[in-house]
């Protein structure tokens, strides 16, 4: 893991009018690691990943993929760079089956410009198999009939099917029960074990500590801490989220005083 991080942000800033959403934030994710991104509401987590996804562009700072400086101008470009994002609302079409959802927008075309359903079904089965997703009865059932955990698994599988290198998960366990959360966290771990970079956003510190290697804490648009998950405690992280651990966070002193 000595090579350049898969994703590295250096000093990125983003403001929305008068609101400074991100201020000179550094962030990195290496291959094979799960990086947690935590912070209270309005800390800038979503802004950060939307910047990586190409939905926003940062006003300041640089983005590096594998040490190469890149500019990402839209979701398509992000996908081309191997970045896939699993949004909280999953973006699955309920009326389509599992295979069709996994291939949505990237269908395989066979002879006569017809969809190659057989090839797509096989590829979907292979991907789900490689991720050890075994709770889905049939890949030809409608997504609407799946449970929350199964849907999350499909959304993740969809993201990793395209030789992606970095998968960003936005609140993957927020709406799930205990057993399903377990399944999804296992899946997240397996992604990292395959050598992918994984960024997970969550409010649930218990989940974070279970699955992540490192934890980046944002507060009010600043990066306030970076922890190794096995060398810190929940209390320490909570403290960073709510009050900040750095004694002099740039621009923050007046607020705290």
């Amino acid at each position: 893991m000595a090579d350049a991080p898969i994703l590295e942000l250096k000093g990125v800033s983003k403001n929305f009018g008068a609101v400074q959403a991100l201020t000179k934030v550094d962030f990195e994710t290496r291959g094979g690691e799960v990086m947690a991104l935590v912070g209270d509401n309005g800390a800038g987590k979503s802004t950060l990943i939307k910047g990586v996804a190409g939905i926003y562009s940062f006003e300041e700072g640089d983005t590096y993929i594998d040490g190469q400086k890149v500019e990402i101008h839209g979701p398509r470009e992000a996908a081309d760079l191997g970045i896939e994002i699993v949004y909280q609302d999953l973006a699955l079409a309920d009326n389509l089956d599992v295979v069709n959802n996994m291939f949505l927008g990237r269908e395989l075309i066979g002879s006569l410009r017809m969809l190659d359903e057989v090839k797509m079904e096989q590829a979907a089965l292979e991907t789900l198999d490689s991720l050890s997703v075994t709770t889905i009865r049939s890949v030809r059932q409608q997504v609407a009939s799946l449970s929350g955990g199964q849907r999350q698994a499909i959304a993740v599988a969809k993201a990793v099917m395209w030789n992606s290198r970095l998968v960003i998960l936005d609140e993957p366990t927020a709406a799930l029960g205990v057993a399903q959360t377990r399944q999804v966290l296992d899946l997240v771990r397996r992604l990292a074990d395959r050598g992918l970079g994984v960024v997970i956003i969550s409010h649930n510190l218990h989940d974070i500590f279970e699955v992540s290697d490192r934890i980046t804490v944002l507060r009010l648009g600043h990066k306030v801490a970076l922890f190794e998950a096995n060398k810190t405690t929940q209390q320490e992280v909570v403290h960073a989220i709510t009050a900040g651990t750095l004694s002099h966070v740039p621009g923050m002193d007046e607020v705290e005083a």
Partner: protein
Amino acid sequence: MSEKQQEEISTPDEFKEALAYAATVEQETAPVAGVVNAETPDETMSDVLADWWRRVKVGDLGSLPIIVGLLIIAIIFYTQEPLFFSPRNFVNLLLQMAGIVTIAIGVVFVLLIGEIDLSIGFVSAVAGVGMTLLLRLDGPALPWPAAIGIALLTAALIGFLQGWIITRTGAHSFVVTLAGLLVWSGVVLIMTTVYSTAGTIVIQDETVIGIANDYLPPMWGWALWGVTNTIFAFSRISRYRTLQRQNLSSGPVTLLVLQILVVALITGGAVWYANQDRGVPVVFIIVLIFLFFWTIIADRTRFGRYVYAVGGNQEAARRAGINVDRIRVTVFMITSFMAGVGGIILASRLRSVDTATGGGNLMLNAIAAAVIGGTSLFGGVGFVMSALLGGLIIASVENGMGLLGLPSGVKFVVNGLVLLAAVLIDALSRRRRESSGIV
């Protein structure tokens, strides 16, 4: 919302509940775990039937209401008037449903993306009247392919215009196409009265009149039956064998044989019965070709898949990189185009157009046909063949009431009730599906 859930779940009571829920989930999922990777088990016929019945019970009715509805309609009209089942009336029925089924094919597409097009009735009239005017021997006197081509192009352009306004401005398709309904009804009135004060214009081309007034000679009917059924059987069997080879779920072989036999029997019976009278109407073959073509587009192409995706979850479609607006505009063009085809068929059947062309129940019947056939008004759910099934019901009811000589007032009431029944079935089965987690 997620934060809220997170907070809620941290209170002890709810946590216990969550644990209990998790336990049930595990029980539910445990027995089926691993099936995906296992060899696909051979489904038997009883599995298929059990699965179908389970889906019906949770509100996924499929074609069931149509079959039941058709049976009820057939029994009622046959007991009142045995001529309802005569070969002559059967051929009439095929002729009567042709126009409405054609228009309803386009309606299926617009309903699939969760929109509506109220202008179809008068767009069909614009195409029908436009073609008739272009054929006038004392006017442009165009050859029939040119007249039909221009008429259909105009229809497609109208669809483009309306779709473009809807996607560009975000105005609701209901309102935009309602405006279209008024505009095109006015245009039809202007077009029909500008050349003749009587407002009736006769089609002056034998080929165009032949579209809806010619019949296949009996042997041709059988030849067509043989060829199409052979193709159908071969495509089914080859698909089955591919799925078997790849070890994907292919369904039981009994179902395959049954499908091929049932299709052969129904179509064979129809050809035989039509041949007792004038033969299979040419226009019905045209309708079948359109049904087949658009079914392939909807089920087997990228475009069709995107239509379903846009209707199911527009945001998901957008994030998947699908150009949602382009799909929507194209769908409005398809709807208008098929309305145009229907308008030409209707004009050909009457051999003339007049000021009333495109009015009356046409638009509502076409929409009702798509909905009765099983296409949801809420988007994302439906299939092209529902135009045929729903059109069959609507035409049967009209035809039967015509045979019984019922007054128009009663016809309107019955038509309204049939539409209401269809929409209620759609709404109720949808509610049922939602409560059981199936869309």
